[in-house]
Symmetry: C2
Subunit: 351 residues, 2 copies
């Protein structure tokens, strides 16, 4: 029984052949449909767990399982090592995703979870923005101009007609390189300094916060007079005590978590009582009248990262690997020809 591996070259080929715009468009539809129609119980998708360690460096490896009744389960394996950028010129997060056949437990495949996570996080914000941003939203504010800002801006450009991006980052090099990194969008990018953040906030129709603020330090800014119908995608908060938005703002917003059980521990929702938290994204997709009722007011999508969006994204890339005949097959599991004889697997493999 073969396990199919998609290499980074295979992923690059899929991106090139399908096109990034088209991938976002398809992913936004797939995610919307899948979250709308699937039974996302905590038995199928328990909150992520992992192991933390302090040596050799502070780090964490965690796993994010997801299954629905389709015969496939995914397990995303995520490494979080904050010393990577400085010490190893690597991103903080490295990830890959395993696919299992839930009929037999066979490992069907393995593929990247680093680029795919960036893609799906952007696409999930687009799903929420489509539901909750006001009509004719034109100005996108971005706070935090790292890797996530690229995929957020790109994905949002597929659902709103962005005229201007107003961007801020505490790191001047991230801020000054941002326009180059999203030049393919052909959108005016206006960068602001720390004392102009107020203008960024008050002028935005849609705001994305995607910083790597340290736990215990946030919020990023004080409450402010938002434009009517502002929608915020809060992407950076994904760890206990790591928050980006002021609680005053949250308390007057319609708050839509991606994954309630996770958001109350790691997201903006950790600042809130249950009665302040609105319907999650799956519920919202099933109740379009709720979005209509609330999109004229202030809305927040609390994005902590949902294992089911990894499931949907991995499924899409495996579909394209089949379409294009990409991937490498390898027999990994030492399945014995006689189930009662564990040594019978190497009768075949040794020639």
């Amino acid at each position: 029984m073969a396990t199919k591996l998609l290499s980074r070259t295979d992923i690059g080929q899929i991106v090139q052949r399908v096109g990034l715009d088209e991938l976002y468009d398809e992913l936004i539809v797939e995610l919307s449909e899948a979250f709308k129609s699937s039974n996302l119980s905590s038995a199928n998708i328990p909150p992520r767990t992992g192991i933390h360690y302090l040596k050799p460096n502070l780090g964490l490896i965690e796993w994010m399982p997801a299954t629905i009744e389709e015969g496939v389960a995914t397990l995303k394996l995520v490494g979080y090592h904050p010393s990577n950028p400085v010490m190893r010129n690597l991103p903080t997060i490295l990830a890959s995703t395993c696919l299992f056949d839930t009929n037999s437990g066979h490992l069907l495949g393995l593929l990247d979870g680093t680029f795919l996570t960036a893609l799906r996080t952007g696409a999930m914000s687009a799903v929420a923005t489509k539901l909750l941003a006001k009509d004719n939203a034109k100005t996108l504010g971005i706070i935090g101009c790292g890797a996530q800002a690229v995929t957020q801006a790109h994905a949002l450009s597929r659902v709103i007609d962005i005229e201007t991006i107003i961007a801020y980052d505490i790191d001047q090099s991230a801020l000054s390189s941002f326009q180059d990194r999203i030049s393919f969008l052909n959108v005016t990018v206006q960068t602001v300094t720390e004392n102009q953040i107020g203008e960024l906030l008050t002028q935005s129709d849609v705001l994305c916060t995607c910083t790597s603020e340290e736990p215990g330090i946030g919020p990023l800014f004080a409450d402010f007079n938002n434009k009517p119908g502002l929608h915020i995608n809060a992407v950076g908060s994904d760890f206990p005590k790591k928050i980006e938005l002021p609680v005053k703002l949250l308390l007057r917003s319609f708050i839509c978590p991606d994954f309630y059980a996770q958001a109350i521990v790691e997201g903006e929702c950790q600042q809130l009582q249950p009665e302040n938290i609105s319907e999650d994204i799956a519920t919202l997709l099933n109740q379009p009248e709720l979005s209509k009722q609330n999109r004229q007011g202030l809305t927040v999508f609390d994005s902590t990262g949902h294992a089911f969006s990894d499931y949907v994204t991995s499924r899409l890339f495996f579909k394209y690997s089949n379409t294009f005949g990409l991937g490498t097959e390898i027999e990994l599991e030492c399945v014995p020809s006689d189930p009662k004889n564990p040594y019978s697997f190497f009768n075949d493999s040794i020639t």
Copy 2:
């Protein structure tokens, strides 16, 4: 950054080049040393968790993490699908193991966990038997003659001089084929019928129970008058309410669990109070006088399957893959050349 995959052919090559006897010998030493010297805290090796489902078939995928301060972590991914043998001619358990670099979170490698688990479960019983069986143990009793019986008998043959194996299985075909499956041991195998189990039990110097008894059905037999110094490896109990040994026997035994926190939930230890459970295998390896004091009495190794033994076994096979130049390297993670630009990974990969 490459991920190294060991295929079943690679594993077969390692077995052929090193030899199974020699692999057991080395693994028994490695496991003894590693369990003796490592800090096996619950932070480093939390009990396994997983997802259970009833559709499409009853099944379970679970993950067993382990790390110590060496810069490597392993995560064994285990599928348990009891319909496999009848419906798919596959073993109930299929597994593979991921290796991570705990400096960066990079996925270093992936290899089989099906054969390797059988191997390490045998080797762990051998470690316990070496410590707890009396001198000159000659007669091995085996109840349950499936796949595990092969690796148990083989591994034990490396630490005791087996003259006779007395075997029983409720399944006549498993029983009658067992001698063939362990013919390489050149040991007399005497099979017994259900009403001769008493003889098997009273004649054994070492006993292995390795059945797939359903939860709630055991024990396999009533208490009996054992030979002085009988040592039992209880291998089959690895699930809540799944037990093999009668509690009366346990209560007059020195009970050594492989992994205390797991054994009290899934092993024979679930029948016991904490005061009835003795030192675990790691403690026993560090306190040789404890083994000496107790090996003349009745002893039980409660083997539920320790993630750290998977760690040690995977490490050994990766060592040999380096020695012999085996394995396939593949770039899986889409690591961007510019950490702030998630699209920069495909500049290199698309040509």
